[in-house]
Symmetry: C2
Subunit: 412 residues, 2 copies
């Protein structure tokens, strides 16, 4: 592969995570040190920053400050939810991107996001190749949803999983203090894939896990749910339930659907209020005390409870993207190939074709879901537990997190 | 004061906190080592455990395991919400308590709870004194609400405050990633006192705080609220709001009232769903994206984010209760006298008369609330910031908290 010198752009897209900035730091730190990369530009609000020519000159930032990206949640460069048109139908955006790439002599493009962002990467890569502009395009994955195909898991998932499992342990203790009994229903994110909700099961490793877990991979039955809760409550005088926002009836209708309002930029319905709805059903059916809890944004930004493994792997994915691109790779996403055996857990970066990753969703395998469809088995625990090991190196000041403060100097 | 030898009972009451077990550990650890205390009994579910003769023999527990109480949230002995009758009206419970005290030769009673629990303590103390049974009764405070009179602050508050401030910082970052703008409304606990909601302001020390804060100490106006949010949003294209569950209109009606269902054991209305209600109003008035978040139980059990200062002070309050009682004190609550000056923050235990503490509520002083009634000032920050310093010493195993597992052997 020929040597390619030029500037790089790094951008972030989609919902943020606790460690998406660790990935971007992996890109920035590695790119700043690489002799083939002449300039490191950060796109404000993802691809929109490219379209609007709003690019930060990352070399203007203090290196020590930049390192705090590893422990700062959310998308430090700003994110977007912007669906690129099919270039065969409308190539306006692509022409504009090409114009900007030429303006700054951009030869490397790193895009940090979920499956919609991998689709964006793939389209840009194909367009540049078609018009004969040499540019290497790499996807750097992130998603708490853990639903990207190919890779063993996604950066961002493990930190959310660790927060969820920790919170379940704490709420489990809290909800059992009275002798009166209580049903607690905790709603986790995950439209179509139940990885985050399944992560609640990790709390069971320490005997403080949920009694029941409902995932969107299987159909939900309200009758069965009520019967399950009644059975557990009769036994324990208490019941802790983990439920995915995306659970649906056999006909595909979301259980939360009637309360849905609005859609996000990609046309996905915004779900919410499900826990409260299920709580109402249990209250009416059983007359017991019920507490619905929605983990909401907390689960995707709780950097104070991030997984050390996740932070290190997120950094590695960004670093690998730069190194692989400089070595000649393009149109790839950096994923992970992992082994879990008697020698422990091992994770290596691996490149996947963007076209294979874009717009597909990886779900929790059915063989990890129990027969009654209200829990997960040891297969899931063995898969997930290694991912949440290790703690964050978050810097504290005044007893609070010291998050990054970027200068955000626009490139000339 | 004469020397008094005998057994002690320690119990927990009311809603748990992240550090209530640290207080109980202060009692248990100190009592087990004190020669005047012949036996240390833990009451299952607070005063109910005394009435039902369900008392754990704490000497049967492994000392290393007991120490994990310092980092384990929730009430490890079990809690209750049980309002004692006025002994002049109905002394049934008091006679039963006396019977149990005599059975185990109990001469020390330590009760770990909020203001209702201090009332329980006070009534028991007065009854024992009236019937001439020598017994020293000490209140060991806890409450995330921080509403106990006399003491500078309450064990449990600071850890909840630290979690709230940390979560606000994280959500603040998360809610500003898009260029589209969003209003985020986070609901904190606190029926009549706004301490927890005010704690969100600590995040402002790191420039990631809420734009608006609404406390129950002042009347709420929906018109003013909408105007406030519109003004901030027009300026920043974003708005982060902290709101107490107990905000009320000028006529005293809770803003959340129409959604209220049920009451807790003391007759307090159970509040909730307020953030969602306010979000609906903003959505209707402004047509922007709004995200309501309720911190719910998470804020009172997030031991993984507890304040090191709070843990140490909670332990100290339990320890002081035992030492003071053995030295002759009775009918007192262990509170804190604190100084904050150029020499830093200093906290000393101080005894308060139970009769002064019971059933009164300390609110956020009006001079710490801004004129517009939508924020707090530096006075509150100076008061609160020292309390959240230091981190938990929580032991981790499998990447998750290692909480205490008690054997709970019943006393013979």
């Amino acid at each position: 592969m020929s040597e390619l010198k030029g500037a790089c752009i790094v951008g972030q897209s989609g919902g943020p995570t606790s460690v998406i900035n660790a990935s971007v730091y992996g890109v920035i730190d590695t790119a700043l040190k690489n002799p083939n990369i002449t300039r490191v530009l950060g796109a404000e609000h993802g691809i929109k920053g490219v379209l609007n020519d709003r690019l930060f000159d990352m070399a203007q930032e203090d290196p020590a400050e930049l390192e705090l990206l590893k422990y700062t949640p959310s998308s430090a460069l700003g994110s977007c939810r912007y669906k690129m048109a099919d270039p065969d139908v409308d190539d306006t955006d692509y022409k504009r991107i090409l114009e900007i790439f030429k303006k700054y002599d951009v030869r490397y493009f790193f895009y940090n996001g979920g499956n919609d962002s991998m689709d964006t990467c793939n389209k840009i890569s194909k367009y540049m190749s078609r018009v004969g502009y040499e540019c290497r395009v790499m996807g750097v994955p992130k998603t708490i949803d853990n639903d990207l195909a190919g890779t063993d898991h996604c950066p961002g998932f493990a930190s959310a999983a660790k927060y969820i499992a920790t919170s379940f342990m704490e709420v489990s203790r809290d909800s059992q203090v009275y002798d009166k009994g209580m049903v607690t229903i905790i709603e986790c994110m995950g439209r179509h894939a139940g990885w985050l909700t399944a992560a609640a099961a990790l709390a069971s490793v320490k005997n403080d896990g949920p009694d029941l877990i409902y995932l969107p991979e299987v159909d939900f039955s309200m009758e069965q749910f009520v019967a399950d809760v009644k059975r557990v409550y009769a036994e324990k005088k208490n019941c802790l339930v983990a439920v995915s926002e995306g659970i649906h009836y056999a006909d595909g209708t979301f259980v939360s659907e009637a309360k849905t309002s609005g859609t996000d930029g990609f046309g996905h319905a915004q779900l919410g209020g499900l826990a409260a709805r299920l709580a109402d059903v249990i209250k009416a059916e059983m007359g017991v005390k019920v507490r619905p809890i929605e983990l909401s944004l907390l689960q995707r930004c709780a950097a104070h409870c991030a997984s050390g493994t996740d932070i290190a792997e997120s950094f590695m994915s960004g670093k690998t993207a730069v190194e692989a691109a400089v070595a000649g790779a393009t149109d790839k996403m950096v994923g992970f190939a992992c082994t879990r055996d008697e020698n422990g857990y091992k994770c290596e970066p691996k490149l996947f074709d963007l076209s294979l990753v874009a717009n597909t969703e990886k779900k929790v395998p059915l063989e990890w879901i129990n027969e009654a469809h209200n829990g997960v088995n040891q297969g899931f625990i063995d898969y997930c537990l290694p991912l949440i090991q290790g703690e964050t190196g978050m810097v504290k000041e005044d007893g609070l997190p010291r998050f990054v403060q970027l200068k955000k100097v626009f490139a000339k």
